[in-house]
Symmetry: C2
């Protein structure tokens, strides 16, 4: 890093939506020289090259990372520590390795003791993305206005931390430094629990649908809208559950306790307690509307979310 | 009903999205003469009159229903039987009363023994609506292509049943005759359980948000999208729970059993069972996409629901 460009050689492992977008952001901000894409699927790498997201590509880890100043691992969470441990031996002294996983403590725990002296790991998680996927959907502006959590530890190299922080700031993200444990606790609630509950809701309804083939023709749009995230990758979510076990189990148990209470209100016919419970949820949900950037079009906005929502349920 | 028009005088009790839309459908198909709107809120009734949805309006039940050939009660489920019981005494012999409630057995049970001889009740539930509400959103085409469940009993008058069936068919709905108990069992799964679970998910996350004010800034669009129905009316949903108690408690218990199993898979680190569970949900959810009419725009379609959905959770 003696030239003006912070990172002469960058390697991106996993050139999908996130990996491709951070490559484009680095390039657009003049933060890098040569970008090598590393992946398993040749077609995707060819596309990434054609789009100018990477300058070259390889399917060989050693080949791809050996001269890199910066390695960004944009793989599913289970693969992430495995791959980082493997590349450790190929990296040059001073190289910075960072990731984008939505689980942090387990990755750090596996990676930190395994990397050779002089190779610096910094954990990161950009909370962005959306419904699209693949390098064809990548864009330099993907992270604009979104949070990116960086999770340094006591042994994180200060210069490497500053460099990773700069990458995400230049990419337009709001960088927040946080303990990995806090990050994992937060994400268990805001993201991991919702996915598990929605998967479970779909299966519970699916059980009933097994008993009556035309069941779902008796549903309005609400169910489909609410369960879109159940189309997410089962493998990816299973891995996340495996790597954030404690927080997720706690979050599930909090949910279970509440649901048991709600069930008791219904059984007892205590509709005023039930109304209070639902009203609390409505209040919290309504409070979210203006605070977050609208990812979609107008259907995300307030006017469609009035008190008489789903008025057909009289 | 001696003229060519099936219903000379129609009374609509509750002139909102559903009540207003069925009035417009009746009118557009030439099925009615005069339509009277009955409601508590004068502003809404004035709007309904201005829009031509009703020909006249009143806030007095007796006044509104006394000469009616057909009375459509489009009120929340708890009010529905109360109001039908009250109007019984004012109705002329041969009058038909129908409703639009999303719970049927409890309404029928309360209403059938209470109506005078010669006044005919037919329970119905059009499964349509959407995110809008109020008479200003009403349209004659609202029910087009949607299911309308009609729930006759042994004592339902055959001619009244045929008349109500005709109304919904003319309104464009796919009419299905069904036992009230079957209807309530189906809706518990396809609609009531999802609302309860989403309310509960919002409250579980809300509990965590109470411990950390900025919690929800660490969430992508998934949570907000999945929980839109938590903005529905707490009173309405509490009433529905009170009136479909048995089926809803069964549905909750089915959900609870599954969630406990999922939790155990996570605790045991049994990721292959967990993946199978999530994959089953994904399979069921993906199978719904082509079957239902898209209520929104393109975000509802297949191309956005690929396997790498929410790719940012690496």
């Amino acid at each position: 890093m003696t030239t003006e460009i912070p990172f002469n050689k960058v390697a991106i492992i996993g050139v999908g939506l996130i990996g491709g977008s951070i490559a484009m952001a680095l390039r657009s901000k003049g933060l890098c020289g040569h970008i090598t894409g590393i992946g398993r699927t040749i077609e995707n790498l060819v596309t990434a090259k054609k789009l100018g997201v990477v300058d070259s590509f390889t399917q060989e880890l050693e080949d791809g990372v050996k001269d890199a100043d910066l390695v960004i691992v944009a793989l599913p969470v289970k693969k992430t520590p495995e791959v980082i441990k493997r590349i450790g031996a190929y990296l040059k002294p001073g190289a910075i390795v960072t990731d984008v996983g939505s689980v942090k403590a387990a990755i750090i725990e596996a990676v930190e003791p395994a990397l050779p002296q002089g190779v610096h790991f910094v954990g990161a998680h950009p909370i962005a993305g959306g419904e699209q996927s693949g390098v064809a959907a990548a864009s330099a502006g993907l992270f604009q206005g979104h949070k990116c959590v960086i999770t340094p530890t006591e042994s994180t190299d200060k210069a490497a931390l500053a460099a990773v922080k700069k990458i995400w700031q230049e990419a337009g993200a709001q960088v927040v430094m946080m303990d990995a444990e806090i990050h994992d606790w937060i994400l268990a609630s805001t993201s991991h629990l919702p996915h598990i509950i929605i998967y479970n809701l779909v299966n519970a309804v699916g059980d009933t649908a097994n008993r009556r083939a035309d069941l779902m023709t008796y549903s309005a749009g609400g169910f489909k809208d609410s369960t879109r995230i159940a189309s997410s990758s089962p493998e990816m979510w299973s891995e996340i559950c495996g790597m954030n076990k404690g927080n997720i189990v706690d979050a599930i148990e909090g949910f279970q306790k509440r649901l048991e209470t709600v069930k008791k209100f219904i059984q007892a016919g205590d509709l005023s307690s039930l109304t209070r419970e639902f009203a609390k949820a409505k209040g919290f949900r309504d409070s979210l509307a203006p605070k977050q950037p609208a990812l979609h079009k107008s259907h995300d906005h307030k006017p469609h979310e009035g008190p008489c929502n789903h008025d057909h349920h009289k």
